[in-house]
C-alpha cells in the first residue's frame, strides 16, 4: 500500500476555515439524510426515497456561494444538500420523507421536492426541466425591480438539458441578460440513460455558445472549485453581467431512487471505478491534510450530524399525517367551496 501523496496547498478561494468546516458538515449532513431515506425505505417506513450520493461537493460548493436572504434557489429533487445548505432544516427533509402534515407541501409532494418561500427556495414539481423557465421568470423579476445584488441559482441534471423547456428558458435568459446561474449537475446518468444516449457531445457547456452565454465546467467532486465557479457566476449575475451555464461533473453512486434497480443497466464495477470521485472522503482528507479539521473534529462532526438526524427522524416520525380533508384546501385562494 502506497504512502499518502502530500496534499497540494489548499486553494481556498477566500473560504475561511469556518466556512470550509461548514461545507464539510453540509456534505456529511446530505450523506446522512440520504442514507436515512434509503434506510427508512428498506425498513418499510416510507414508500420512496431519492439519494444524491456523489452530488455533495456540488451542493456544498454552490450553497457556500449562495447569499441567504438575497438569492433565490430553484432546485431539483437531487438537491437535498443544496437546500439544507441555503437554510432548509434537516427536519424539513424528514418531514417530506414521512409526508407529515407539517411538511412544507403538506405531505402532497414526493420527498425531495422542496419549497420554502421564506428561504427563497422556489416550489418545484417532478416534471424535469419545468422549473427552468420559472427560475428565469424569478430572475426577470429581480431585473425589472432593479434589485442588483441578487441572483437566481437554478439546478438540474444532465438529462434535463434535452427538454425543450430547458432550451427555451436558457435562450430567454440570454436574450434578456437576467441574473441567473444555470447549474447542471452532470452525473453521467438520467435513470438508466447514459450521457451518450442523451446528447452527442462530451461537454454540456458546449451548448452555452449557441445561446450566447458563458459556459464553465468544473469538477463537482471538488466543493471548493465548485464554490469558486458558482460564486463567480453568481457575482456576475448579481452585478448585471447576465447568465452563466455551469457544468459541475459528478457521479451518481446510488440507484436513481429506491424504486430503481441500477444493476439492470450498469455494473458494480463501473460504480467502483468512480469511487475516487466520492466527494465526501475526498474533502474530509483534504481538510484533514490542510489542518482545517482534526480527526477528533471530524469524529465529533459526524456524531453531531448523526445525532441531529436521529433526533429529527424521531421527532418527525411522531408527527401526524395531514388530515384527509386537507386534500380540498389550497386549490384556489380562499375556500374550496365556490370552485366546484
Amino acid at each position: 500500500m502506497s504512502k499518502a501523496i502530500p496534499a497540494p496547498a489548499l486553494e481556498r478561494h477566500g473560504l475561511s476555515d469556518e466556512k470550509l468546516r461548514w461545507m464539510l458538515r453540509n456534505m456529511q449532513m446530505q450523506r446522512t439524510l440520504d442514507n436515512r431515506g434509503f434506510q427508512l425505505n428498506r425498513q418499510g417506513k416510507i414508500p420512496f426515497a431519492t439519494g444524491s450520493e456523489g452530488h455533495e461537493g456540488i451542493h456544498a460548493g454552490a450553497a457556500a456561494a449562495f447569499e441567504r436572504g438575497k438569492d433565490i434557489l430553484v432546485p431539483y429533487y437531487r438537491d437535498i444538500g443544496l437546500c439544507v445548505g441555503v437554510g432548509m432544516e434537516p427536519r424539513d427533509a424528514l418531514l417530506s420523507m414521512f409526508a407529515r402534515g407539517a411538511d412544507v407541501s403538506g405531505g402532497r409532494q414526493f420527498p425531495n421536492h422542496y419549497s420554502h418561500h421564506r428561504l427563497g427556495i422556489l416550489s418545484v414539481s417532478s416534471i424535469i426541466a419545468a422549473h427552468c423557465p420559472h427560475a428565469v421568470g424569478a430572475a426577470y423579476a429581480m431585473k425589472l425591480r432593479n434589485e442588483t445584488g441578487r441572483a437566481v441559482l437554478c439546478s438540474f441534471g444532465d438529462g434535463a438539458t434535452s427538454e425543450g423547456e430547458w432550451h427555451e428558458a436558457i435562450n430567454f435568459a440570454a436574450v434578456q441578460k437576467v441574473p441567473i446561474v444555470f447549474l447542471c449537475e452532470n452525473n453521467e446518468w438520467a435513470i438508466s440513460t447514459p450521457r451518450t444516449h442523451q446528447m452527442a457531445v462530451e461537454d454540456i457547456i458546449s451548448k452555452a455558445a449557441g445561446y450566447g452565454l458563458p459556459g464553465v465546467k468544473v469538477d463537482g467532486s471538488d466543493p471548493i472549485a465548485t464554490y469558486a465557479v458558482v460564486a463567480e457566476a453568481l457575482d456576475r449575475a448579481r452585478s448585471g453581467g447576465g447568465p452563466t451555464l455551469v457544468e459541475a461533473t459528478c457521479y451518481r453512486f446510488l440507484a436513481h431512487t429506491t424504486d430503481d434497480d441500477d444493476r439492470t443497466y450498469r455494473t458494480r464495477d463501473e460504480i467502483e471505478r468512480h469511487r475516487h470521485l466520492d466527494p465526501v472522503p475526498r474533502f474530509e482528507r483534504l481538510l484533514l491534510e490542510a489542518g482545517v479539521v482534526t480527526t477528533d473534529d471530524l469524529a465529533a462532526m459526524k456524531k453531531d450530524v448523526l445525532a441531529e438526524v436521529n433526533r429529527v427522524t424521531d421527532e418527525t416520525e411522531a408527527l401526524p399525517y395531514p388530515h384527509a380533508h386537507e386534500i380540498y384546501t389550497k386549490v384556489y385562494e380562499g375556500a374550496y367551496e365556490p370552485w366546484l
Binding site: V104, H117, G164, E168
Partner: protein, 333 residues
C-alpha cells in the same frame, strides 16, 4: 351588472386594450409578454403604442417559444410580479400545456399555499374568420377539466373589461379567452374607471320562460339574434351568457332551468367532451325532475378543425338560423 358610471362605446379589441393599458398604468407589477406584442403592438393591434409608453422591460417581445412564455410568467408570478402572458393564437397554446396544466395550476396546491401563481394568459380563439385549420380552434375544453385553473370567455366589451380586471387581480392563474371574430364585430357600452366582474358569474342576457339557452363567446350574440327571431313567433327563450367556464355558475343555470324546464346548450367547440357535456351532466344531476325534455347540445361537429375553404368553415359554424330552428323544436317539444 348595474354600473352607473359614464360609458363609452367600443369594440372588444378596444375593451381588451383599454383594460390592459389601465392595468399597466396602475400597477407596476404588471407586464405583458408574448410574440410581437412590442413594436407590432400584437397581431390584432391590441398593445399598439404600449412599447413606447411602458418600455421593453414591461412590454416583452419574447422569442418564439410558448412553453417559456407561460413558464417564465409562472416564475415571475411566483416572485411577486403580475404577468399577463399572450399566446398569439389559441392554436399555439399546446406547447405551453405543461406549464399551464402541470405547473401554473398546481403551484398553490403543491406548495400548500407557500407559493401562488397570479398569472393571466390571454389568447384569441375561435373561428368564422377564415383562419383555417390552425387559426380557428376552440381550446376551452382542453383546459376546463383542470382544478387550479380558472377560465373566462366573455362576449361583450363591458364584460371583457370587468372580467379582465378581475383576472388580473386574481391570485390564481386565469386563462382569458377572446373570441377573435368578436374583436371588431362586437361593440357595446363600457363603463369608465376601474371595475371588476367576479369570475364564475354567468349573466342572463334575455329573460324567458319556455327554454334556457346557455352559451358563451361568439355564439351568445348569435343565440340572442336567434332568440329574437323565435320571439317573433311568440316563443320565450332565456339566454344565459356563461362568461366564466371555470368556476362555472351552477346557480344561474339551475335557477333558469328550474323555471323553463328545458335546456339547450350551444357552443362552437366540438361536442364530444365539450363544455356542454359538463353543463348537461351537472343539470341532470341537480335538476333531473325539473326537466321536461332531453337536454340538447348544439355544438361544433366532432372533426379536428374547420377548413379554410368557405363551405368547410360554414359547415362547422352554427348560424342563427340553425339556432332558431333548435330553439323552436325545443320549445314545441
Amino acid at each position: 351588472m348595474a354600473v352607473a358610471a359614464p360609458t363609452t362605446v367600443m369594440n372588444n379589441v378596444e375593451a381588451v386594450r383599454q383594460t390592459l393599458y389601465e392595468a399597466l398604468k396602475s400597477d407596476e407589477r404588471t407586464l405583458i409578454m408574448g410574440e410581437d406584442v412590442g413594436a407590432r403592438g400584437n397581431v390584432f393591434l391590441i398593445t399598439k403604442g404600449f412599447l413606447d409608453e411602458f418600455g421593453p422591460q414591461r412590454i416583452i417581445d419574447t422569442p418564439l417559444a410558448e412553453a417559456s412564455i407561460v413558464g417564465i410568467a409562472v416564475g415571475m408570478a411566483m416572485e411577486g410580479l403580475r404577468p399577463i402572458a399572450e399566446i398569439q393564437f389559441a392554436d399555439f397554446i399546446y406547447p405551453a400545456f405543461n406549464q399551464i396544466v402541470g405547473e401554473a395550476a398546481k403551484t398553490r396546491y403543491r406548495s400548500n399555499g407557500d407559493y401562488t401563481c397570479p398569472l393571466v394568459i390571454r389568447t384569441p380563439y375561435g373561428g368564422g374568420v377564415r383562419g383555417a385549420l390552425s387559426h380557428s380552434v376552440s381550446i376551452e375544453a382542453l383546459f376546463y377539466h383542470v382544478p387550479g385553473l380558472k377560465i373566462v370567455a366573455p362576449s361583450f366589451p363591458a364584460d371583457i373589461k370587468g372580467l379582465l380586471n378581475a383576472s388580473i387581480d386574481d391570485p390564481d392563474p386565469v386563462l382569458f379567452l377572446e373570441h377573435k371574430k368578436t374583436y371588431r364585430s362586437v361593440k357595446g357600452e363600457v363603463p369608465s374607471g376601474h371595475y371588476t366582474i367576479p369570475l364564475g358569474k354567468a349573466e342572463v342576457k334575455v329573460s324567458g320562460d319556455q327554454l334556457t339557452v346557455v352559451s358563451y363567446g361568439l355564439y351568445v350574440h348569435q343565440a340572442l339574434e336567434a332568440a329574437k327571431r323565435v320571439a317573433a313567433d311568440g316563443m320565450s327563450v332565456e339566454v344565459i351568457d356563461l362568461r366564466s367556464i371555470r368556476p362555472m355558475d351552477r346557480t344561474t343555470i339551475l335557477d333558469s332551468v328550474r323555471k323553463t324546464r328545458k335546456l339547450l346548450i350551444i357552443h362552437e367547440d366540438n361536442k364530444f367532451g365539450g363544455i356542454g357535456a359538463e353543463i348537461a351532466a351537472m343539470v341532470v344531476e341537480e335538476a333531473f325532475f325539473d326537466l321536461d325534455a332531453p337536454i340538447r347540445r348544439l355544438c361544433g361537429p366532432d372533426v379536428p378543425a374547420m377548413g379554410y375553404a368557405l363551405p368547410l368553415e360554414e359547415e362547422f359554424m352554427i348560424s342563427p338560423d340553425r339556432m332558431a330552428d333548435a330553439m323552436r323544436e325545443m320549445v314545441r317539444f
